[in-house]
């Protein structure tokens, strides 16, 4: 191999006593795509930040092919400025100058439009505020901004987490073009299919160091290396839904941007909702949770009509929502695991208005055990846990409130394989116990393996329902992509 474009040698890094990296090394050649895989907390993001010069290593070194190598990083956390336009975001720091050396604000949208078109992006309006475009579009703009800076080393940390297949295909097209132009690319993803389709080399991380670099490796072997144990299967074994009573029905319920929707959710079943991002899933889930509620139509809770206009109504009706963005929609990150579990049920744990500490302690300990939350103690701030464990805390809180209907909205986004596995087992277990689960995922594979049936949304309407025997990731994607004119709806709802 020729001298690498960028290499890390024996890099270690600690954050407040927690070792994020211990003696990690990788070398990335010019014109190659190098994937880093590993569980959350394995040190991939830390290594990317060190390679990109965002943070300094405690030990070890980063060597680059030249002193002035241009390194571009797409961070896992999006960095777009919400109340600035797409054009202002794209051109930040290199704005076009006009008279008197002042920034030519009028020229910026056209310039941004031209540059985006050069990357094959024609569907995002450069005049829109970053806050007004979808999460996937924001991620695309984030990637475009970094590519436009013409990096010689491109670091992509979970850059596909919000993207659907078509957008991933676009990104991979860009990556291949850059690779062929000699750019060294480092890439992390939790989606195995993406990794094998794009990576020239794969380095596997576990507990803060690299445990092997491969040009080809099977998923099972990789998972064994990542987790240190063989996972028989990622998904739980299928089980028949108990034909319990219908807990929740929608009749002609219309949320903003959706058609009137009909749906029946039974106790003991996992009903999947599939489709491409931006086709009304979010409106459906947040409508059921009253944030905001549906505009018209009926919601029935075990046959009785209920009004849900605010989350409070939903909670009283026993409906709980676990969103994908747990940071802003559910958890109190600075508060402890204990407080996050018990805040909504403090009244039940109190006598005469005074908290019974023993009861609280027992409840929290039981929840941590039941959900297998990996935390050093109940006092740990939730913000210090990994994403998957944060999801478990949020789910556990709803279980404590005795909600029977769980709306799980893309809960495994950005969660590592082993924790995903635990969450799947948890969901399957809850269904067996008689919970009614409505499950949306941007990952069709996940829907196909976990759900008893899947309804596919397109343009705000259900366009297909796939029963268990017709379920596959391909069938879900096909139904989601099919033009509505030629829709042949198998097993219509």
């Amino acid at each position: 191999m020729t001298a690498p474009a960028i290499a890390a040698r024996g890099v270690s890094k600690s954050f407040g006593g927690v070792k994020a990296l211990t003696g990690a090394s990788i070398a990335v050649a010019r014109g190659s795509v190098h994937a880093l895989v590993g569980e959350n907390g394995a040190g991939k993001s830390t290594l990317i930040k060190i390679l990109g010069g965002r943070i300094a290593a405690d030990e070890g070194s980063v060597e680059t092919a030249g002193p002035s190598l241009r390194i571009g990083t797409v961070f896992q956390e999006l960095t777009l400025l919400p109340y600035m336009t797409v054009a202002e975001n794209l051109l930040l720091g290199r704005e076009p100058r006009g008279r008197l050396g002042l920034i030519d604000r009028a020229a910026m949208p056209r310039l941004a439009e031209a540059e985006l078109a050069g990357l094959g992006i024609t569907h995002i309006d450069p005049r829109a505020l970053a806050a007004d475009i979808s999460l996937a579009e924001r991620q695309i703009i984030e990637i475009a901004r970094v590519i436009m800076a013409r990096p010689q080393v491109l670091l992509l940390d979970e850059a596909t987490s919000a993207l659907v297949e078509r957008e991933v295909a676009w990104l991979f097209g860009q990556i291949r073009a850059l690779r062929d132009a000699g750019v060294a690319i480092v890439f992390t993803s939790h989606r195995w299919g993406e990794i094998t389709s794009i990576a020239d080399e794969i380095t596997i991380f576990r507990n803060g160091s690299d445990v092997g670099t491969f040009t080809t490796i099977g998923e099972d072997e990789a998972i064994t290396l990542m987790t240190g144990q063989a996972l028989e299967t990622i998904f739980p074994a299928r089980f028949a839904p108990s034909s319990g009573p219908v807990l929740l029905s929608l009749r002609g319920a219309r949320a903003e941007g959706t058609a009137p929707l009909d749906l029946d959710l039974r106790a003991g079943e996992i009903l999947g909702i599939g489709g491409l991002a931006g086709h009304g899933h979010r409106a459906l889930f947040f409508g059921l949770f009253g944030a905001p509620g549906f505009r018209e139509g009926r919601i029935e809770r075990e046959g009785r009509p209920v009004r849900i206009t605010a989350p409070w109504d939903a909670i009283r009706a026993g409906i709980a929502l676990v969103p994908e963005d747990r940071k802003s929609e559910g958890l109190f990150l600075p508060l402890s695991v204990r407080d996050n579990f018990t805040l909504p049920i403090l009244r039940q744990l109190s006598r005469f208005g005074i908290l019974r500490l023993g009861a609280e302690h027992a409840t929290v300990a039981e929840s941590i055990r039941r959900l297998a939350v990996r935390t050093p103690s109940a006092q740990q701030p939730v913000g210090a846990l990994s994403g998957g464990n944060q999801q478990k805390v949020l789910l556990g809180r709803w279980l404590l409130t005795r909600s029977r209907i769980l709306l799980l909205y893309d809960v495994t986004r950005g969660v590592d394989v082993a924790t995903k596995h635990e969450i799947y087992e948890l969901i399957a277990g809850l269904a067996r116990e008689g919970y009614a689960i409505l499950f949306y995922s941007s990952d069709a594979e996940e829907l196909a393996h976990l759900c008893h049936r899947v309804k596919v949304m397109r343009r705000g309407a259900f366009v297909a329902e796939l029963p268990a025997d017709a379920l596959s990731a391909e069938a879900i994607v096909a139904a989601a992509m099919r033009e509505s004119g030629q829709t042949e709806t198998p097993h219509a709802a």
Binding site: L80, L81, G93, D125, R127, G278
Partner: protein, 330 residues
Amino acid sequence: MQPDAAALPRGSRLGHAIGQNIGLILAGAILALAVAGFLLVYSIEQHRLPGNFELTSTVNNAIPLVFAAVGQSFVVLTRGIDLSVGGVVDLANALAAVTMGKSLGGALLWSAVILAVGAACGLVNGLLVAFGRLQPIVVTLATLSIYQGLAIRVLPAPGGAIPPAYTNLLVNPNAPWALVYIGLLVLAWAGFRRSRTGVDLYAIGNDEASARALGVNVLRTKIIAYMLDGALAAAAGLFLAASATAGDATTGNSYTLTSIVAVVLGGVSLFGGRGSAAGAIAGAFITTLIVNILFFSHVNPLYQSFYEGVFLIVAVVLGGAIGGAIRRRR
């Protein structure tokens, strides 16, 4: 990537312009309402429309607040707040009264010095906020007291003198010449908005951590914002001194709160990153016109602040509702 058939339709350019400047548009609408209200109350009361004298006095009354509010908006755009504005106005006012003497030349020279003192006051705020990583509200609450104390030290009792020529230059009582300064302020703002520092200011107010990750020099930009704020507050003190033709080390105290009111009415978000100095100027005029309207309505001056408070709440609530409705419709 081809546009998806289901992709949302693009908003029109006009739609974007309205949606993204909704705060400024609402400020303009409230200003128009305030002007109409003033014309109505005045013509009922005086049986004629206001003329040159009323225009001149309104502009001259408003101009210190215009400067203080524009200064405040720089800091608010970074998601900060400056409570020391009143103290800087006091200090500038007191310094002007004791230093200016009789000649216009001396007065102009001292004006430059006083503006620099104001910038220095802002520098202290900025250093404490940017390097000390202290909360702006705490820092400027403390420096408000400090600057007020310094002002009293400079001018223990109201008095001193301002050259008449200086008064004529800044707040000519015969014609609304002071509008020229507002014009210059708008031009300067338009230039600033198109400078590196101007863009960085908005970036910081949007998301400080992201701005830092994108290479924005956060420390430098924040310090500049506080310095500009301090210099503009000092300018407000100079206009006040010129109007009163003398100094008073407590006359500026109210500007801490009125500058924040003007900024809010002008559609600048207290959460940073949204709004503009043009809105703050409109807000300053609205605030001044409300006082005029209450005066001509013969509201007991003791109750004036009551009605100002009620108006502020109504304006902000209505503005938020209208703005939200327009954004949702798009």
